[in-house]
């Protein structure tokens, strides 16, 4: 089961919905890993929108699990890429060629949805008009508030900053601009006194 109900939190924490087909001239769908299941569910509601859809899919560690099933939806364009970073050039190009009437659907991990939402916002789409659905890993994209380095796929709290090595506490405080949660030094006053890391949401 790829769905996870996040507990209620502070206002800063993003809230995700369930993808629904909306009228539009073109449909841009960006998903990673189990996010493919949200696209398959979307197709079950209205397969017709895929005739004008461009799917950008990053399987991550799901490999070929979903690729054939996504292809079978017969989207107008279908791209499978190794990493989000590798797909960014394509996403920017698609958005720069797009017109009003484009619907954007994002599904999968928080890191993917946050970064893709940022690209769509930069292209002029209000964030509230971009649909999102969380699926799969609850790992987080974290920014160290001290060195500003980003650590991807953080699974424990606290964790070690992959750039400066500080021990960071995982906060729900989120930056839409950076598409990252904020990590704050956990042992600043008593260096070395670091709580035992626990897996997120365990």
């Amino acid at each position: 089961m790829s769905k996870f109900q996040f507990p209620e939190s502070i206002r800063s924490r993003p809230v995700y919905g369930t993808l629904e087909p909306r009228p539009g001239k073109a449909h841009l769908m960006i998903a990673d890993a189990e996010g493919a299941e949200a696209l398959l569910d979307l197709a079950a509601q209205d397969a017709a929108i895929f005739r004008a859809a461009h799917i950008i899919y990053i399987p991550k560690d799901t490999g070929d699990t979903y690729v054939d099933r996504l292809k079978a939806l017969e989207p107008a364009q279908f791209y499978v890429g190794p990493t989000y970073e590798a797909s960014v050039q394509r996403i920017r190009r698609v958005l720069s060629d797009a017109h009003m009437g484009l619907q954007v659907y994002l599904a999968g991990t928080e890191g993917l949805m946050g970064q893709a939402q940022n690209e769509a916002m930069t292209a002029g789409i209000p964030h509230s008009a971009i649909q999102t659905e969380h699926r799969g890993s609850v790992a987080r994209r974290m920014q160290c508030v001290h060195c500003k380095g980003i650590t991807e796929d953080v699974m424990t709290d606290p964790f070690v900053c992959s750039h400066c090595g500080l021990n960071l506490f995982v906060r729900d405080h989120y930056s839409r601009r950076l598409a990252a949660f904020q990590g704050v030094c956990v042992d600043a006053e008593d260096p070395g006194n670091v709580p035992e890391p626990v897996e997120l949401y365990k």
């Binding site: 001239k25 958005l95 009003m100 009437g101 484009l102 619907q103 002029g124 789409i125 209000p126 008009a129």
Partner: protein, 328 residues
């Protein structure tokens, strides 16, 4: 509505002005220009703002909102353009018939319920008739800022095409005019197709036009956030009714030709307002008790609020029934 309600109070701050020019533009529309009596510069306003003009019509106070259509960069004067409505409640007739150059009047500080979204990459204006007024200020602003815009302006006829000559001579490539009597119409679907991402559309005109634009844009996949509209409603006459104001502990009568808000004011009870046209939300009032039917006409409350019978916008909405008690 995007504007957040401010602290509820009875109207915006006021400015004493003198009528410095009256310019008839065609059979129906006249421009009124105001200068400040104290000689100070006018407060700056953002394009799309309106002012509420206070009219003393033989002892009866009329308060009508009008879009500011002068250049927002000009702090020496404010200008409004008023369409004469022979069937209306009399505010526009008062402006056309009674107001003379040199008269002193009171207007409010500008309030903007129809601002440009300055994040927009491009701004498409759709005007119907006198709905051109806020766009005059928006165009002046965007021309100065180098913003991308285009105007599609539907008028009844060439003779009633307010500001058409000025607009088409200054901006021949950006202004598109459509005359009803020549069976010309805005090709809205074609217009919405192919606009660059980040385009915002603004519509000011009759209610049918506003609904048509919202509906068509939604069907074409435009987010609500990119579609802006403004329509000031004039209060409609209706059967007289009785209202109890429980905080003030009085019972008042609302006449056929006055709004509930006007009746509350006439009885000396101070009630908050800004636009007096069902748009801004300032006059929202809680209903304590009601036995009868509401005639909701505002654009502020949502359908659930209207159905609940717990709230009313006294500037444009009325009531038919036995008892109405308001928390005012």
């Amino acid at each position: 509505m995007s504007a957040a309600p401010q602290k509820a109070k009875a109207g915006a701050e006021k400015i004493e002005v003198e009528v410095s020019a009256i310019v008839p533009l065609n059979d129906l529309v006249t421009r009124f220009e105001f200068t400040r009596r104290d000689g100070l510069p006018f407060p700056p306003f953002s394009a799309g703002a309106h002012t509420v003009v206070e009219m003393n019509d033989d002892g009866r106070t009329r308060l009508n909102p009008y879009s500011l259509m002068s250049d927002p960069a000009d702090s020496t004067k404010y200008a409004i353009s008023v369409r004469r409505d022979d069937e209306g409640r009399g505010g526009s007739l008062f402006m056309h018939r009674k107001v003379k150059v040199g008269d002193t009047m009171t207007i409010t500080y500008p309030v903007n319920l129809f601002p440009l979204d300055l994040r927009g990459r491009k701004h498409v204006f759709l005007a119907g008739g006198i709905g051109i007024t806020p766009f005059m200020a928006m165009i002046a602003y965007l021309e100065r800022m180098g913003g991308a815009w285009e105007l599609h302006y539907a008028c009844r006829s060439e003779a009633l095409g307010t500001y058409v000559d000025e607009l088409t001579s200054r901006h021949p490539n950006k202004v598109h005019v459509y005359y009803d009597d020549k069976k010309q119409a805005i090709a809205l679907e074609d217009l919405l197709d192919g606009q660059p991402l980040g385009t915002h559309v603004y519509v000011c005109g009759p209610q049918g036009m506003i609904q048509w634009v919202h509906k068509t844009a939604a069907a074409h996949g435009w987010p609500d956030e990119n579609v802006h509209s403004e329509e000031f409603l004039a209060p409609q006459p209706g059967k007289p009714f009785e209202v109890r104001l429980c905080k003030s502990d009085i019972t008042i009568q609302v006449g056929e030709h006055e709004s509930l808000l006007e009746a509350i004011e006439r009885c000396g009870v101070e009630a908050p307002f800004l636009c007096r046209g069902g748009a801004c939300g300032q006059c929202e009032t809680d209903v304590v008790e009601a036995d009868g039917e509401f005639i909701h006409r505002d654009h502020w409350l949502d359908d659930d609020d209207h159905a609940s019978g717990k709230k009313i916008m006294p500037c444009v909405s009325r009531f038919v029934g036995k008892t109405l008690v308001l928390d005012r």
